[in-house]
C-alpha cells in the first residue's frame, strides 16, 4: 500500500516543489523524486508479484461513496514502464532543459510538467473510478499539451492547439458516457459497474466513452493531431508523449471493455475496433514511409504501432473471453504497449541527440552520423529491432503472441496485417538507418556528451530485454486479469 501511495504522491509533490522552490534547489529535489518514485514503482511491482492485487479505498470510504484504487498486473506494469521512461527522460533532459540550454521558459516549465504528467499517468493506471479517471486524463491532457507548446515556434503552437481541441472533444465524449452510467446505476466504480443490472443506455455509454478515448489514443482515423504534436515538441517531451500518453487512454479502454462492461462486447463492435487498428497499422506505416524528417517518421510510426494494441479487442474480447488463445492476445497487446513505450522513448531521445549534433532532423542532414555518434546510432538501431519485431526483442514477443492467437482464433487476417505492418516498418526505418550509417558525411557536427548518449541505449536495451525475459512478465500480467479472459493455456 505504501508503494502504491508513493507512486501517486511523490511526482505530484515533486511538481509542486519544482514550481515553488528556487532553481538551485529544484535539481536536487528532482533527482530525489525520480529515484524514489522509481524505487516505489519497483516496490509496487514486487508487492503485486508476491501478494496479488494491491487495493486501497481512499479516505477510508469504500465505493460507491469513495474512490477505490487498485494495482493489478496491468496497472503495475504500466506504472513501472512510466517510471523507467521518466527516469530515462529525466537523465537525458538534465543538461538540455536548463536556462542556458533551452531558455528560462522551457527550463522552468519542463520539469513540473513532466512530473505532473507522471502523477497523472500513475493516477490513471491505478484508479478504479470512472469520474476520477476523467479528472486524471484531463490533468494528463493539459500537461501534455503544455509540453508540446514548450516548443514555442508557430508550428508547435498550432500543433498544441489542434491537440487540445481533439483531446477536449474526446474528454467530453468520455464524460457523457460517465454521466449515463452514473445516471442509470448510481455508481462510478468499475467493479460495481461490472456487477450492475444491465440498462438500455449502457451500450450508448460505452460507445461514447470509447469514441472519446479513441480520439485520445489517436487511433485511425482520429490520429491527425498526433504527428505534428509529437514532432514539434522538444525531443524529451516527444519521448514522454509518444511512449506514455496514448497508453493511458488505452488502459482505460481495456478496463472498460474487459472489466467494467465485458457483456457489451459484441462481435461487431470488437471487429470494428480491430479493423480500425489494422487500418492504423497500414496507414501510419505508409505515411511514415514518405516523411522527410526523422521526428515525423518516428511520430507516424507511433500511429502505426498503436494500431497493434487494438487487435486485442477482436482476439480477446467479448464471447471469445474464455477461449484458450485469449491470454496470449491480452498479454501480447500489453507487451506491445510496453516494448513500444521503451523503444519509442529511446528513438525520440536519439532523434533529439541527432538534432543537437546535426542541427536538423532532415534525413539528408543525418548522413554519416553513426561514425560520430556510434552509441546513439546503435540505440536507434536496437529500438528499430523492437519496432520491426525481430527476435529476441519485446516487440517480437508481442507480435508472436498476437499472431499465434490470431491463428488459433481462426482470424488469420490480423496475422496478415501484422506481417504487412512488419515489412512496412522495416521499410520506413530503413531510410533513416541508411542515412545514419552512410559512409560519407558526419563532418562538422557538434559533439554530444557520452553520458547523454547512454540513456537511449539503456531504454532500447530494456525493450530487447523484455523479449529475452518474457516468461516472468507474462505471468505478472495475468495477476488480476479480468475473469472474462482468464482461462488461458
Amino acid at each position: 500500500m505504501s508503494a502504491l501511495l508513493a507512486c501517486l504522491v511523490l511526482p505530484l509533490l515533486g511538481a509542486l516543489a519544482a514550481v515553488a522552490l528556487p532553481r538551485r534547489a529544484v535539481a536536487a529535489v528532482l533527482a530525489g523524486v525520480v529515484a524514489l518514485t522509481l524505487v516505489a514503482a519497483v516496490g509496487l511491482a514486487v508487492a503485486v508479484h508476491s501478494g496479488g492485487v494491491v487495493r486501497l479505498a481512499l479516505g477510508g470510504w469504500s465505493p460507491p461513496l469513495g474512490i477505490a484504487l487498485a494495482a493489478d498486473g496491468l496497472g503495475a506494469a504500466f506504472v513501472l514502464l512510466t517510471a523507467l521512461v521518466m527516469a530515462g527522460v529525466a537523465a537525458a533532459a538534465r543538461d538540455e532543459m536548463t536556462p542556458q540550454g533551452a531558455g528560462p521558459r522551457a527550463a522552468f516549465g519542463f520539469w513540473p510538467l513532466m512530473l505532473l504528467l507522471w502523477g497523472a499517468l500513475n493516477a490513471v493506471f491505478l484508479s478504479r473510478d470512472l469520474f476520477n479517471l476523467y479528472v486524471g486524463i484531463e490533468l494528463l491532457t493539459l500537461a501534455a499539451v503544455a509540453l508540446v507548446a514548450i516548443g514555442g515556434r508557430a508550428e508547435a503552437i498550432a500543433a498544441a492547439m489542434r491537440y487540445l481541441i481533439f483531446a477536449l472533444a474526446g474528454s467530453l465524449l468520455y464524460l457523457a458516457g460517465v454521466v449515463l452510467i452514473y445516471g442509470a446505476h448510481g455508481t462510478l466504480d468499475i467493479d460495481l459497474v461490472a456487477a450492475r443490472d444491465a440498462a438500455a443506455p449502457d451500450g450508448l455509454a460505452l460507445a461514447l466513452m470509447t469514441a472519446g478515448l479513441l480520439v485520445k489514443t489517436a487511433l485511425f482515423p482520429f490520429h491527425v493531431w498526433l504527428p505534428p504534436a509529437h514532432a514539434s515538441a522538444p525531443a524529451p517531451a516527444s519521448a514522454l508523449l509518444s511512449a506514455l500518453v496514448p497508453k493511458a487512454s488505452f488502459v482505460i479502454l481495456l478496463r472498460l471493455w474487459f472489466e467494467a462492461m465485458p457483456d457489451l462486447g459484441t462481435d461487431r463492435a470488437l471487429l470494428l475496433l480491430g479493423v480500425l487498428g489494422a487500418a492504423a497499422i497500414l496507414w501510419g506505416s505508409l505515411r511514415a514511409l514518405v516523411q522527410a524528417r526523422l521526428k515525423l517518421i518516428v511520430a507516424y510510426s507511433t500511429v502505426a504501432q498503436l494500431g497493434y494494441l487494438f487487435l486485442v479487442f477482436p482476439l480477446a474480447g467479448g464471447a471469445a473471453g474464455a477461449q484458450p488463445w485469449t491470454a496470449g492476445a491480452w498479454t501480447g497487446a500489453i507487451f506491445q504497449a510496453l516494448s513500444h513505450g521503451l523503444a519509442k522513448a529511446a528513438m525520440f531521445l536519439a532523434a533529439g541527440l541527432f538534432m543537437a549534433a546535426a542541427g536538423s532532423d532532415r534525413l539528408g542532414a543525418l548522413r554519416g552520423l553513426a561514425r560520430v555518434m556510434p552509441m546513439t546510432a546503435f540505440a536507434f538501431a536496437l529500438a528499430s529491432v523492437t519496432l520491426i519485431s525481430l527476435p529476441p526483442s519485446g516487440g517480437f514477443t508481442a507480435k508472436y503472441l498476437l499472431m499465434t492467437s490470431s491463428f488459433a482464433a481462426g482470424q488469420w487476417i490480423w496475422a496478415l496485417v501484422m506481417t504487412l505492418g512488419g515489412l512496412l516498418t522495416a521499410g520506413y526505418l530503413y531510410r533513416p538507418m541508411a542515412a545514419l550509417f552512410a559512409r560519407e558525411g558526419g563532418e562538422g557536427v557538434q559533439t554530444v556528451a557520452r553520458a547523454r548518449q547512454a540513456v537511449p541505449l539503456v531504454l532500447a536495451g530494456l525493450a530487447i530485454l523484455l523479449g529475452i525475459l518474457s516468461a516472468a512478465p507474462f505471468d505478472f500480467l495475468q495477476i488480476g486479469r479480468p475473469e472474462a479472459a482468464e482461462e488461458g493455456p
Binding site: 499539451v145 507548446a149 503552437i157 492547439m161 467530453l172 464524460l175
Partner: protein
C-alpha cells in the same frame, strides 16, 4: 418529472449544439466557446438526472463543480493558445482548415 425532462432535453440539445459548433466553427475562440457549451449542457443533463430520486443526490453536484473547474482550466489554456496562435501566425484559425477564399 416533466420539469426534469425539460432540463435534461435542453441539456442534450446544448451538447448537440456545442458539438456542432466545435466541429463547424473555424474561428478558434468560437470553438472554445462551443466546448464550454457542451460541458455546460452535459452538466445540466447530469443535474436533472441526479434530481430524479426522492432526495437530491449530492454526489453529481460535487462532480459537476469539479467538472466546471476542469473546464475552466482547459478553457484558460485554450484561450491562451488562441492568442499565441494569432500572434505567431496572424490568424485565429488552424492552418490547413481555412477554406479557399
Amino acid at each position: 418529472m416533466a420539469a426534469l425532462s425539460i432540463y435534461a432535453l435542453t441539456g442534450a440539445a446544448l451538447v448537440g449544439l456545442g458539438f456542432f459548433g466545435l466541429l463547424a466553427a473555424r474561428h478558434l475562440l468560437r470553438r472554445v466557446v462551443a466546448f464550454n457549451l457542451i460541458g455546460s449542457g452535459l452538466f445540466l443533463y447530469f443535474g436533472a438526472a441526479a434530481t430524479r430520486g426522492a432526495a437530491p443526490d449530492p454526489v453529481p453536484q460535487a462532480l459537476i463543480i469539479t467538472g466546471i473547474v476542469v473546464a475552466l482550466a482547459a478553457s484558460a489554456l485554450a484561450v491562451a493558445l488562441v492568442v499565441a496562435q494569432v500572434r505567431a501566425a496572424g490568424r485565429a484559425t488552424l492552418p490547413e482548415e481555412e477554406d479557399a477564399p
